[in-house]
């Protein structure tokens, strides 16, 4: 059932000079799966994610995302995935409507489709009264929910969420996860990083990166059994050792392998 995998990664590696940021990682993610991608700061999560979304070339190994090769088809990957992070989300000085229209255009949707999607999305999120307000004036939680919806505008096969709920209030954080469940239920694959360990429990499967390697990968239930602990927080604390004070060599100082 190979065609069911929407992400396939085999021995993927990225080095900067003599620093190995991502060290021969391998895993698959299935269609409709919620896949948690965890690790301590500096463990290599961001570097790995950049390779998967087609903006950084690996040094060795193989990976396909949505059926496209990360070396030769990065542009096709970008068209077939959604991406959302707390750092890059929406334009604060555009209105809710303008943001949706803008991103619809970027993804190459026809105007009619953008209009339909926009109306649907605004009513689904209950944003009718504020659709002409600047996004910058919205509370963070609303921004994040809108941003997630916008990342799904072009019906991507996979959506990458990079710490989507940081700093969001606990109620909105849960509403956000209900949106994730819904998208996954409809067949969208979710690839998510988070520092909230209760959110790790919401994932179908979780991988934990330690110093560039994937040290554990399984369902939250099995990981807890394997490490004989009660929570994902304890799994994480057991695995992700306090990093030794080695510095990630400034990325500018050490040459990219490419």
């Amino acid at each position: 059932m190979k065609e069911e995998n929407v992400i396939e990664v085999n021995q993927l590696t990225k080095t900067f000079g003599d620093f190995t940021a991502v060290n021969t990682i391998s895993f698959e993610v299935k269609k409709g799966e919620i896949f948690g991608f965890l690790g301590a700061n500096g463990a290599g999560k961001t570097t790995a994610m950049k390779m998967l979304i087609g903006i950084s070339k690996p040094c060795s190994g193989e990976a396909t995302v949505a059926g496209f090769d990360v070396y030769s088809q990065p542009e096709s990957i970008k068209k077939n995935i959604g991406y959302m992070s707390q750092k890059f989300a929406l334009y604060d000085d555009l209105t809710v409507k303008e943001n949706i229209t803008f991103f619809g255009g970027i993804y190459g949707l026809p105007r009619k489709k953008i209009r339909e999607k926009r109306e649907h999305l605004i009513s689904e999120l209950g944003l009718e009264n504020i659709s002409n307000k600047l996004v910058g004036s919205l509370p963070l939680g609303w921004k994040q929910k809108l941003s997630f919806s916008v990342s799904l505008l072009h019906d991507p096969k996979i959506v990458f969420l990079d710490e989507p709920t940081g700093g969001v209030d606990p109620i909105t954080r849960r509403q956000f996860w209900e949106m994730i469940y819904k998208a996954a239920d409809q067949g969208t694959t979710i690839f998510v990083t988070t520092h909230y360990m209760d959110e790790a429990e919401y994932c179908d499967r979780v991988s934990i990166m330690v110093e560039g390697k994937i040290e554990a990968l399984d369902t939250p239930k099995k990981l807890k059994e394997q490490f004989k602990v009660d929570s994902m927080n304890d799994v994480f604390l057991k695995l992700a050792r306090i990093p030794s004070p080695t510095l990630p060599k400034g990325k500018g100082e050490n040459a990219d392998c490419n």
């Binding site: 301590a40 700061n41 963070l140 209030d169 606990p170 209760d198």
Partner: protein, 300 residues
């Protein structure tokens, strides 16, 4: 001689950042401001560190008034802002020397206070601050905030975006500083860190929801919470939300926290309802409230 706020309000144009806030932090206390982004935490920090003047109300820090005695406060407190604010182009050691010098002291004079934090970054003292990893920047910022031996330490979201291992380590450092007699006001959006404070204020939309010890806040939770589990999380949440006796439904890790409207909850009734909804592997048991439950109930 800790911190005292009395009816403090501050607005930015039309936006009310904090409204009529009052609380006291006792000397030597580790006090947490717990709330999401936009709650007003940073505004409170900026008022207490004399960087903002309140519209209304009064506040004192270490016995000094935040408006009248701002110079005395600046000498007496350490402040680690949420955003990394050291000089990126100076090395680790240069930053620390700089902060020691402007406060009229030396690294050697107060080294004992920062020693167990600074030794972890000392091997890299010749590296520019801008080239440090997130965790190291955090340790350097804390060292710089401590180098003049402040009586009160302000830490604005020191652990935001930090992984659980480094967060745990950071809180252990705070506990050690508290033992040295420093009063600490710390803010965080992570509710699990609330349990590590002596007392906390839960804050949302510029208003304080509750102030107490974490244990007392949790024990005052008005309802019984049930952990509900089943094979399909999404379907379970939807089914519970449509259950006629539902009061609240919140996913919590591998379970859903469910509370019921009725005084006498019937477990068998919920069980059979969920079975009818087509769920399997159903699991229902009562559980204890935590700070996040309390926050969500108070914020309703």
């Amino acid at each position: 001689m800790g911190i005292s706020l009395s009816n403090i309000s501050k607005s930015y144009k039309k936006v009310k950042a904090v409204q009529d806030i009052s609380f006291d932090v006792n000397p030597g206390e580790l006090f947490g401001l717990i709330g999401p982004d936009g709650a007003g935490k940073t505004t409170i920090f900026r008022i207490l560190t004399t960087l903002l003047i309140p519209d209304k109300g009064t506040a004192t820090v270490a016995g000094f008034d935040v408006v009248k005695d701002f110079k005395a406060i600046r000498k007496a407190v350490g402040y680690m802002p949420g955003r990394f604010s050291l000089y990126q182009d100076l090395t680790v050691e240069e930053n620390l020397t700089f902060f020691a010098t402007i406060f009229g002291t030396t690294i050697e004079e107060n080294y004992d206070l920062i020693e167990d934090i600074y030794v972890q970054i000392e091997p890299f003292k010749d590296r520019r601050a801008g080239k440090l990893s997130g965790g190291m920047k955090q340790k350097l910022a804390l060292s710089c905030a401590l180098i003049h031996k402040p009586t009160v330490l302000f830490l604005d979201e020191p652990t935001t975006g930090v992984d659980p291992v480094s967060r745990k380590e950071f809180w252990e450092m705070l506990k050690r500083l508290q033992k040295k007699g420093i009063t600490i006001l710390v803010s965080t959006p992570y509710m699990d860190e609330a349990a590590l404070c002596d007392r906390i204020a839960l804050i949302q939309d510029g208003e304080i929801l509750e102030i107490d010890t974490p244990e007392a806040i949790v024990s005052q939770f008005p309802k019984t919470i049930y952990n509900v589990g089943a094979d399909n999380m999404y379907k379970l949440i939807q089914s519970l939300q449509q259950y006629e006796h539902v009061y609240s439904v919140f996913p919590f890790g591998e379970f859903v926290h469910y509370t019921d409207k009725r005084d006498s909850f019937e477990m068998a009734d919920l069980q059979s309802y969920l079975e009818k909804e087509g769920l399997t592997a159903i699991h229902i048991e009562s559980t204890k409230a935590n700070i996040e439950d309390a926050f969500m109930e108070l914020a309703r």
